[in-house]
């Protein structure tokens, strides 16, 4: 079922937590709400669940306005950050709980619990208490409790943040598989951009209660709507250079102090036309900076720090006062202090208006 937020605002006392949110989630879509802590993403989810009431605006599930519906009447299921399994009940009873609420016959409950326990691979723990299960197993039970009631919408509030890194990868794959299988509308809240990129069909990036950008992971990564999104998505983060548009001897340049980068006339005119001032911020992702030999390079920098992550190396470079990060494969060997030439992939430049912080190109 589709979900829609229409001018939704939530205030706690006088603090605005969600600010005039407009968001449409298609039926069957997995939408990730991404943002730093305190950005209003969890509150948004809780409003959809019915655990918070919006101060203004409307929320729709399908074609029904659900503002005044109790959580129990919304047919949504939620997976909580700390699992929220009922500690005094067995895993079987935990899974059966939503069906008991629906007053389903005993026989059907037993059948459904077996079925869901199989899907979530917890069929061997049914008689145990939640405390006797590992974090990953508990999370699978929590997931099962959500699946079992066939909800219209799945709500997931950072379900993987309490699980260790290796298991998180597995669970992420499990979740993706489950979503492919059930094809149910899912709203997934996380502050982990890797999780958002790998899971989301679309991502809604939030900051201080406001929606910054909605788009596919690719769109968000390649064409971030503003400086915040550019800085928040991607690891290591995008390199940002404050600079200005200049024109010298018919050459169009972006001058960032440490270096000037020549750009095409076309790009120059486009930026000039759309930018409110001549001050811009040039954003270049680490992936779009390559270290090359002298001839083809454009900018000189000095190797400052090397961080190997196994598959790649993050190279921190110094250029005057500026620090740049790039990512190279492990076949290249550098020494600290070495002078290297950098080449930028101009096609992947992001140019932001410094005043409005919005993207131009």
């Amino acid at each position: 079922m589709k979900v829609e937020f229409e001018n939704v605002t939530k205030k706690f006392d006088n603090a605005v937590v969600v600010d005039n949110l407009n968001l449409k989630i298609k039926s069957g879509e997995l939408m990730v709400l991404l943002g730093p802590s305190g950005c209003g993403k969890t509150t948004t989810l809780r409003m959809l669940a019915g655990l918070e009431t919006p101060t203004a605006g409307n929320i729709f599930i399908g074609d029904n306005k659900v503002n005044d519906l109790e959580p129990k009447d919304r047919n949504v299921a939620m997976v909580f950050q700390h699992y929220a399994l009922y500690p005094h009940m067995s895993i079987y009873d935990n899974l059966a709980f939503p069906l008991i609420a629906q007053k389903k016959p005993e026989e059907e409950i037993r059948k459904r619990v077996r079925e869901v326990a199989g899907i979530c691979r917890v069929e061997n723990f049914l008689h145990r208490k939640p405390k006797q299960l590992s974090g990953g197993e508990q999370q699978r039970v929590a997931l099962g409790r959500a699946i079992i009631k066939n909800p219209n919408v799945f709500l997931m509030d950072e379900p993987l943040s309490n699980i260790d890194a290796k298991l998180r990868m597995e669970m992420r794959a499990d979740l993706a598989r489950l979503h492919q299988k059930l094809k149910s509308t899912t709203v997934y809240v996380t502050h982990d951009q890797v999780e958002a990129m790998t899971l989301g069909k679309r991502i809604a990036v939030m900051k201080s209660g406001g929606l910054q950008q909605v788009g596919t992971p690719k769109e968000i990564f390649n064409r971030p709507a503003n400086l915040f999104v550019a800085g928040f998505v991607g690891a290591p983060p995008m390199n940002m250079f404050e600079g200005s548009l200049t024109e010298k001897n018919d050459k169009m340049m972006i001058d960032v102090g440490e270096f000037s980068y020549r750009i095409s006339e076309e790009l120059y005119n486009l930026v000039k036309k759309q930018c409110t001032t001549s001050e811009v911020i040039l954003g270049i992702r680490p992936e779009n900076i390559s270290i090359v030999n002298k001839k083809s390079g454009t900018v000189l920098a000095r190797v400052d720090v090397l961080q190997s992550i196994g598959s790649d190396i993050y190279v921190y470079l110094r250029m005057g006062k500026k620090s740049i990060i790039t990512r190279v494969d492990t076949s290249k060997i550098f020494t600290i202090g070495e002078k290297v030439w950098l080449k930028f992939n101009e096609k992947r430049f992001c140019i932001f208006d410094k005043r409005t912080e919005k993207i131009i190109v």
């Binding site: 706690f12 669940a49 019915g50 655990l51 109790e70 959580p71 129990k72 949504v76 299921a77 939620m78 909580f80 950050q81 700390h82 929220a84 009922y86 500690p87 005094h88 709980f97 939503p98 609420a101 629906q102 409790r145 009631k149 709500l155």
Partner: protein, 272 residues
């Protein structure tokens, strides 16, 4: 060193046990001694037990009636205080309430003055309301004195239960009340029982208010004990027998639920 500390620990525990057990054991022993041997010095340990005191108290006095009064008043107090106090504690633990902490502090202030301070105001109020010497009057007074403690305890227990659990139940399809009954209540059961025990013991032993606010109809057993102090002599066999009987209900109560008391007292001390 290790042995020393162990000996010290046990030593302290033994001394503590003796000092706290001595008075009740002494009273219980005295209640079955023949009157002539009661105050024998040195105490006589070998005697022919007699149930004369018990016979007097249970069959030939009005003590059973006052004991029943105590049972009725105390049980009602415990149940009503728990009901009101746990609902209030729940509200304080869960809901966003304006000036919540001030409100909570205000509730606690009802226990900040010594009980005697409230004696005369209560007497005059109850006199005006016609509540002197009535069950309702006594129950109301005891609820007043126990409520602050109950709210304070229960708030702590409710705060130990993550709100997420109730929210999960709400989303799973239950109403707020059902979520409370099926999830929260079983999880705070031990806390509820521990609180009940404290209220029971405090109220059972209460003397002052019963003395000034009751006369006969709602008089509790504690006030009846001094009635055995006769004009000619103190009926020690009756006093000790009545006292022993009076000690039994809290003792039984505590033994029955001691498992929960320990759990209630250590609730929340284990890291989740």
């Amino acid at each position: 060193m290790k042995h020393m500390s162990k000996i010290c620990t046990y030593g302290i525990l033994v001394i503590f046990s003796i000092t706290s057990l001595f008075p009740p054991v002494w009273i219980a022993l005295t209640s079955i001694k023949p009157p002539v041997e009661m105050f024998a010095m040195p105490p006589c340990w070998v005697f022919t037990p007699t149930l004369q005191g018990y016979e007097q108290v249970l069959l030939n006095s009005e003590f059973p009636r006052f004991l029943l009064n105590s049972v009725i008043i105390v049980t009602s107090t415990v149940l009503l205080t728990l009901l009101i106090g746990s609902l209030a504690g729940y509200a304080l633990a869960r809901f966003r309430i304006k000036y919540k902490e001030n409100l909570f502090f205000f509730v606690l202030t009802s226990r900040m003055g010594p009980a005697v301070v409230f004696g005369i105001p209560f007497f005059l109020l109850w006199l005006g309301l016609g509540l002197i010497d009535s069950y309702v009057g006594m129950i109301l007074v005891y609820i007043f004195f126990n409520l602050a403690f109950c709210i304070w305890m229960m708030r702590g227990f409710f705060e130990e239960v993550p709100a997420e659990l109730e929210e999960a139940a709400l989303v799973d399809g239950f109403s707020r009340f059902e979520a409370f009954r099926k999830i929260t209540l079983p999880l705070v059961a031990s806390g509820l029982i521990a609180t009940a025990t404290f209220i029971f013991i405090l109220t059972w032993n209460e003397f002052f208010y019963s003395m000034i606010l009751t006369n006969y109809a709602a008089k509790t057993f504690t006030v009846q004990l001094p009635a055995f102090f006769g004009a000619q002599r103190i009926l020690w066999e009756n006093v000790t027998a009545a006292s022993t009987i009076g000690m039994l209900p809290p003792l039984l109560f505590a033994i029955l639920i001691r498992k929960y008391i320990v759990r209630g007292l250590t609730f929340g001390m284990v890291k989740k």
